[in-house]
Symmetry: C2
Subunit: 342 residues, 2 copies
Amino acid sequence: MVKSVSVVDVARAAGVTPGSVSRALNGSKHVSPALRAKVTDAARRLGYQPNAQARGLRLGRSNTIGMLVNDMRHPMYASIIAGVEHELSLHGRMLLLADAHGEVSREKTIFDTFQRCALDGVIISASYDPEVSMSTHYAGNRLPLVLIDRDVEGMDRVCLERRNALRLATRHLLNLGHRRIALITPALDRIPGGERAAGYDDAFRQAGLAADRRFIPRMQSPLQDGGEAMQRLLDLPQPPTALVCLGTRLLSGALRTLRQRDLKVPHDFSVIAIGSTDMMAFANPPLTCLRVDLPSVGRAAARLMLRRLDSPATLPCERVELQSELVIGESCGPPPGSHNGP
Amino acid sequence: MVKSVSVVDVARAAGVTPGSVSRALNGSKHVSPALRAKVTDAARRLGYQPNAQARGLRLGRSNTIGMLVNDMRHPMYASIIAGVEHELSLHGRMLLLADAHGEVSREKTIFDTFQRCALDGVIISASYDPEVSMSTHYAGNRLPLVLIDRDVEGMDRVCLERRNALRLATRHLLNLGHRRIALITPALDRIPGGERAAGYDDAFRQAGLAADRRFIPRMQSPLQDGGEAMQRLLDLPQPPTALVCLGTRLLSGALRTLRQRDLKVPHDFSVIAIGSTDMMAFANPPLTCLRVDLPSVGRAAARLMLRRLDSPATLPCERVELQSELVIGESCGPPPGSHNGP
DNA sequence: TTGTATGCGTTATCAT
DNA sequence: ATGATAACGCATACAA
């Protein structure tokens, strides 16, 4: 751990003063070519690296953005984080990452820690836990904030459209002739689940049909076993012929149950999944799925933050919404026993 | 952006000096209960948050660890990063994350940036690109370093065992009766691929058989299409009856080719994959795979770093090696036409 | 154009 | 036990 070289060292080596070193290295206008040359040379010789802490302390900013995620175990986050990091790196900012591991209390702790870190801003992908009121939790801070997937009025935010997405997916199945369509989604009592159910209802209504809520089982948690829910669905007197399943872990359970009951996809049963990274590729058959461009979500959040930092605080809040796309795989067909099949 | 409250503000509010505030808040021995109470109270009233930058500047450490990853698009990294973050958070350290996006030149840039960030240490999961010599690249720095998946003598490092893993996988297939076993892996000319091929050879040798290198096609990149390689393999006069495929993207292509040729797994063809997060669950049938506990990799790296920080610099280097486990799915069976099947 | 001096917010040392 | 002061490394306002 050798002592690091500072402006003073460079100044001494170049035979000038520390102030001149700073000016020369930061490209000040009023610096003679001779001095600049001397300084640049000495800096390189000594391997000078300006101390970001000291510079940040002096300048009042760190060029670092914090990112608080609710739970990195969720496969969705990897791509979002990558998107944030990428966009930030393009603009010379660094990313400080913290994970709440799904615990709301840790979200609070992390945010407090962030406030001490002299961050230029914080990107938050927080839990939907109702006990967390954005206003009380993050209000009264002096950090620029960008929310991901939290539609709070008066804040910069990137939102994931779900209602129309579910409408698309459900309509796709209705068009194939399905009428008994199951929907498995976590957190029906929170916004994401509620929006999804609403889109599901929309599709039925627009088709002049009535949605049957018995086909939307209530899940306890995103980690709950989707297999058991699927069993209950299939044990209904009139079981569903198709499933829209939003949740990586839920899906694996549901697929397992289908295999156990020897229901072939798509011949006996149709499935639409949520499109995480490589899922379509591994599934056999490839799954039709709702796909969100997750790196774009991260990039959008980062761009909102950079925009906020570069502009006066009076800049009005912006809301970016990202749509889902229905990627057609080979997991959907007409319901069994229908006569419009190929 | 309200001006933040500093020790001076707290001191004024409590009617004491800044020095006393610092002592009181940092739990110094020599502080009267009365003063401590006054200070604690004032600090809470004003919502005082110590400035980590200033503190770091003064103390010479930031409680922040940098992590440099080669390419976050690789699905393996999410879990490793999560493991690092988790372990660091348990010890009050923060994680600064940077991604080289697979570009070696960016690795260099990032490391330079890290050197300026007053980090306490850096965890590196760098590329295997031969042009990157660890010695010239990272040597001569004064930062504690921990390498992930880079077996460099004289450095703290977490290594992924591959040779024995491939031996296990290959032996599993040999035991089932397979003799023509394909191996698809990226980067045969670098260490990971080489080690794998060695383990593959080991298994054959230990079974008294000779491995046939024609079953190990050369892949250009981990993003290359495994489907085309699979086609070439199946077009051999004596095509393989089983495949060990190490690479998420390569696998999806290989599976696609098997589907196209109407080869059923495991009836007509056996497959062993590399176990990324949720893969086994989605694949149909569930895949037998080689699984590494990736969060443990991250945690181990973080622990090596913390150990290094807490101890004198004379501490000898440590090498941690993580084994793979062969998780039995339903994708392996006897070769077609064999007589020892069920 | 360059040197000098000051302060960013902390903590540690030295007085008292 | 507490107050005063200096220093961490840097950038800038001001002086020359």
